[in-house]
């Protein structure tokens, strides 16, 4: 799986997708996993009578936090500081990585244990730590699998969704030195547990992300299923949390809404098994040093776009990913961002300014709308995709823009439109056989023709038929 490799260079989506489509094993794993999880989600959501009101509340409180982010973050900083934590501000990935690396170095450790965190994936923290001589060990089972394989996560919530258990057994046999290991889920989990237990007991510094942070109390929340996150947030002496600034919610009470929306939308559970909430430090209980790194890294750019900012409501549940018919074919690696699927296609170009391959992501969608239907915070993902497309076409003026310009000009006048219709009929006539076109000139028509025939342009347009009918 070349493109799954952590070091693979980012490519535009269509090319990366072509490679992904060739991997039948990954596609089979994905279809199976996403079908199971979307059914579970639907059941879990359908049993909540006021689900739509909950979504309204979730969207409303996130919007409230985002539109007053300047005050919210200062309030959060004050609360965390009051309770014995230290807040650091990072404008971009480099500043965040430097801050964390410095803090780790100050502790003089060679190993840190990590809670699954998208924000740290986004900034490439593991690479920065490794470069500084510190070994990061992922404690989330799936994230550990991906790390041991030297790959990138392919799903927000289930980073190793592209691997089946035989592949995981082979990986553990090799990387954990267990040549006799079987492929039963129980055996695989036990192997990972034995490995991680030693890590938890022997590691003084942990790094986490955050699902939410409450501005009023300074409490930070991590939601997970395995309990490994709980180990990381309680056992070590030092806890460093890297959090995107959009994760702040106004009050502790708002968790009432968010903790109903998130588990049902993500794993299809009424409640997730482990919810860790900590507020600063407590003498004699848990980590005695707490650092909170607040990460911007493009988020304030997104905030400045009055349409695009809705993407910052996202609570990373991955419901949109599991229902996306494009993601279900390609998997996450084709997106070349930790935020794959529909949410990645609207978030990543806003975070990195849409320079480079992420400019292809807003086009990696049919605008079918399945994502918007399941989003727990009502992000109108298709509308945001179109908004991102607008930004891309406004930057590039290529042959496509020229074509759309010509077409637009034709559509602005009946005379030109009817002439274009006659021209289309004339041009394709030599290519048509038996009412169908099967061979095409280079360009968009050939791309169409790779998998589809095209009916020949009929001899009479509808309007010509209407005209002749009116005359008789």
């Amino acid at each position: 799986v070349t493109q799954a490799a952590r070091t693979a260079p980012a490519e535009p989506f269509p090319r990366a997708a072509r490679e992904a489509l060739a991997n039948e094993q990954v596609r089979t794993n994905l279809l199976h996993a996403t079908t199971t999880i979307r059914l579970k989600r639907a059941q879990a959501v359908n049993e909540v009578a006021d689900w739509d009101q909950l979504r309204d509340a979730g969207a409303g409180l996130k919007d409230h936090a985002l539109l007053s982010l300047d005050r919210m973050l200062v309030e959060l900083e004050a609360a965390v500081t009051r309770r014995g934590g230290t807040v650091h501000w990072a404008r971009d990935a480099a500043e965040a990585n430097t801050a964390v690396t410095e803090l780790v170095r100050r502790e003089g450790v060679e190993t840190v244990v990590k809670v699954k965190s998208l924000a740290t994936d986004e900034i490439g923290l593991n690479d920065a730590l490794t470069a500084a001589g510190v070994e990061p060990i992922e404690s989330d089972l799936a994230e550990l699998i991906v790390q041991l394989a030297g790959e990138r996560p392919s799903h927000l919530l289930v980073p190793a969704v592209h691997k089946n258990r035989d592949e995981i057994r082979d990986l553990f046999r090799e990387r954990l030195g267990l040549p006799e290991l079987g492929a039963e889920p129980g055996e695989l989990t036990a192997a990972a547990r034995a490995f991680l237990r030693e890590t938890f007991l022997g590691t003084r510094v942990a790094i986490s992300g955050a699902n939410f942070a409450c501005a009023d109390t300074g409490s930070v929340v991590v939601v997970e299923s395995e309990g490994n996150g709980r180990m990381c947030t309680t056992l070590p002496e030092v806890l460093i949390t890297v959090m995107g600034i959009e994760k702040v919610v106004p009050t502790f009470r708002d968790l009432e809404v968010m903790l109903q929306l998130l588990p049902r939308s993500s794993t299809g559970e009424r409640m997730n098994p482990y919810t860790s909430i900590w507020t600063g430090v407590h003498p004699g209980d848990g980590p005695q040093v707490f650092h909170l790194v607040l990460l911007d890294n493009g988020r304030t750019h997104a905030l400045a776009d009055d349409v695009g900012r809705a993407a910052l409501r996202c609570i990373r549940c991955s419901a949109c990913i599991n229902v996306c018919p494009v993601y279900r074919q390609t998997g996450g690696h084709a997106y070349h961002t930790p935020y794959a699927g529909p949410i990645g296609a609207i978030l990543q170009p806003q975070l990195d300014g849409g320079r480079g391959p992420s400019a292809s992501l807003p086009f990696a969608s049919t605008l079918c709308g399945a994502c918007a239907d399941v989003c727990p915070v009502r992000i109108d993902i298709p509308a945001l995709l179109v908004n991102e497309r607008r930004k891309v076409v406004e930057r590039h003026h290529g042959i496509e823009a020229f074509g759309f310009g010509l077409l637009g000009r034709a559509f602005r006048s009946r005379r030109r439109y009817e002439r274009a219709q006659r021209l289309a009929r004339l041009v394709q006539r030599p290519l048509a056989r038996g009412g169908w076109l099967r061979r095409f000139p280079p360009g968009p028509l050939r791309a169409w023709g790779r998998s589809r025939d095209l009916p020949a342009v009929p001899g009479t347009t509808f309007r010509e038929w209407w005209g002749s009918r009116e005359r008789t």
């Binding site: 605008l367 025939d453 095209l454 009916p455």
Partner: protein, 231 residues
């Protein structure tokens, strides 16, 4: 009842038989159909592809052409969805025409109050709800209730019907490989039903599905709802 027919540029040019069926079907219900000859394109493709300036001009043109009519009917879920969802934002003053624009099955069931339209079609039909009629217009059971009321139509359920067929406008060529993979999945399910016809409410998706069926050498036909109902 009378209406203006918004034929859509794609049906006008590439699927005129769908337009003729729509006219026949509406007239058979006693609807007086008018066809404003100045109409061209609503601008959906420009809008969805990011060309908002062009989309704005075409939206204003749509208002100018169809504004004078009481009701506007189109045999396309996605074009009607564009008009209803985006016209106001693009054109400013819409004269209320966005709210008076109907998708064909909506117009028949809600405005004309019919479900049995007297179709003489005979055969097994499976119905694919196109994404924009399903999720933006929420046409719901209207198309299938029209099909069920046709005595000669044997309606066969399409598994995972609500999954997109992979057309998506320019997506079909910009991401041709993914589009093809989605289409193959859809066609496998269509063929497994054993239906003679796969029916939908959008000529654009049907172009993609029908083109895929023809490439496979299948005898299953991709027909618009209007064609099945007008037969």
């Amino acid at each position: 009842v009378s209406c203006a027919l918004f034929i859509t540029c794609l049906t006008d040019t590439l699927a005129p038989q769908v337009g003729r069926a729509t006219v026949e079907l509406l007239e058979r219900q006693g609807v007086t159909v008018d066809f404003p000859r100045e109409q061209t394109c609503c601008g959906q493709m420009h809008f969805n592809s990011g060309y908002v300036r062009e989309a704005r001009r075409l939206a204003r043109r749509f208002v100018a052409v169809f504004g004078p009519y009481e009701d506007v009917v189109a045999p396309s879920g996605s074009c009607v969805a564009h008009v209803r969802t985006n016209l106001a934002g693009l054109a400013g003053d819409t004269d209320g025409v966005d709210e008076r624009t109907w998708e064909l099955s909506e117009f028949l069931v809600d405005r004309c109050g019919v479900t049995d339209v007297g179709s003489g079609f005979r055969g097994r039909v499976t119905y694919h709800p196109t994404c924009h009629s399903l999720r933006l217009l929420r046409v719901g059971h209207r198309p299938t209730s029209l099909l069920r009321a046709a005595a000669g139509v044997g309606l066969v359920e399409l598994p995972d019907a609500e999954e997109c067929c992979g057309f998506g406008g320019t997506f079909a060529v910009k991401n041709a490989d993914v589009s093809a993979a989605m289409l193959e999945a859809k066609l496998d399910r269509v063929l497994a039903t054993g239906a003679d016809v796969v029916c939908a409410c959008d000529s654009s998706c049907l172009l993609h599905i029908g083109g895929g069926l023809h490439r496979r050498g299948s005898h299953v036909r991709a027909l618009h709802l209007a064609e099945v109902l007008a037969a």
